[in-house]
């Protein structure tokens, strides 16, 4: 029981930690950790979401945030944009220049991030400045552990290709 509380505390302190990281951090065996997590999930104290090749663990009450953040980090360009915004708020032009992307591609991804509520937009003189609306540490942790499959990487490139052609802005 003490061990289970220890696991629950680790997940509560670091929402979005991965199974692998938690096992390493607490020095637990895979089977042992799996058993306790199953119990905690059954009790509704924690929940997990698999995205890419990793399973992320969250404490109860984090459902909506987890859903939004995991969708937000599911494409490579959005991960790069979020990492850039962790440093400081930026406008679309700065983001496009820093990442070597076309304006329409950045515009598409910023719209998606806005819809997900992961960033907020504020008009400053003639440009719109984007700021993260979630804990940067949590976002950085999720991105650090994200491992996309090869198919996902190819699909991400296709999304960028499709968003960079056409009418743009």
């Amino acid at each position: 029981m003490e061990r289970r509380n220890e696991i629950l505390k680790a997940i509560t302190d670091r929402p979005g930690t991965t199974f692998r990281e938690l096992a390493r951090e607490l020095g637990l065996g895979i089977g042992d950790l799996q058993y306790h997590l199953r119990k905690l999930e059954k009790e509704g104290k924690v929940f997990s979401r698999k995205i890419g090749r990793r399973r992320y663990l969250f404490p109860k009450g984090f459902e909506e945030t987890a859903q939004r953040l995991l969708i937000a980090i599911s494409t490579e360009t959005r991960r790069r944009i979020l990492l850039l915004l962790i440093e400081r708020p930026k406008n679309q032009k700065e983001i496009a220049k820093s990442l070597g992307l076309s304006q329409p591609t950045v515009s598409y991804h910023m719209d998606e991030l806005l819809k997900l509520g992961v960033v907020t937009a504020e008009k400053e003189s003639r440009s719109v400045v984007y700021t993260l609306s979630h804990d940067p540490e949590l976002i950085a942790r999720l991105i650090k552990d994200y491992r996309p499959s090869l198919w996902e990487k190819l699909a991400d490139n296709l999304i960028d290709l499709l968003t960079s052609v056409g009418d743009g802005e």
Binding site: W151, E152, L154, A155, L162, G166
Partner: protein, 83 residues
């Protein structure tokens, strides 16, 4: 050799359809959906073309293949044109 190349084209078309489908699921971009349809049609076209080796369906196959070719090309144009 001909069959091998046809098989390779078929595998590539299916892989591209899969990639386009993942892209569509992630982004809900309509052009990605057009690409899924286009690559699936291309796979069907290739299958029919390979089946052409059986000479008895040759005439019907020509027509089906030509129609599919036009649809595939139109979908590719559509996917680039309409964002």
């Amino acid at each position: 050799m001909e069959t091998l190349l046809a098989l390779l084209a078929l595998i590539l078309a299916l892989a591209l359809a899969g990639i386009s489908f993942i892209a569509y699921r992630k982004s809900h971009l309509r052009p990605a959906l057009y690409l899924v349809i286009a690559f699936l049609l291309l796979a069907i076209k290739k299958t029919i073309e390979t089946a052409k080796l059986a000479a008895w369906i040759e005439r019907d196959v020509e027509l089906a293949v030509d129609i599919l070719e036009v649809i595939v090309l139109a979908l590719l144009v559509l996917s680039l044109w309409r964002r």
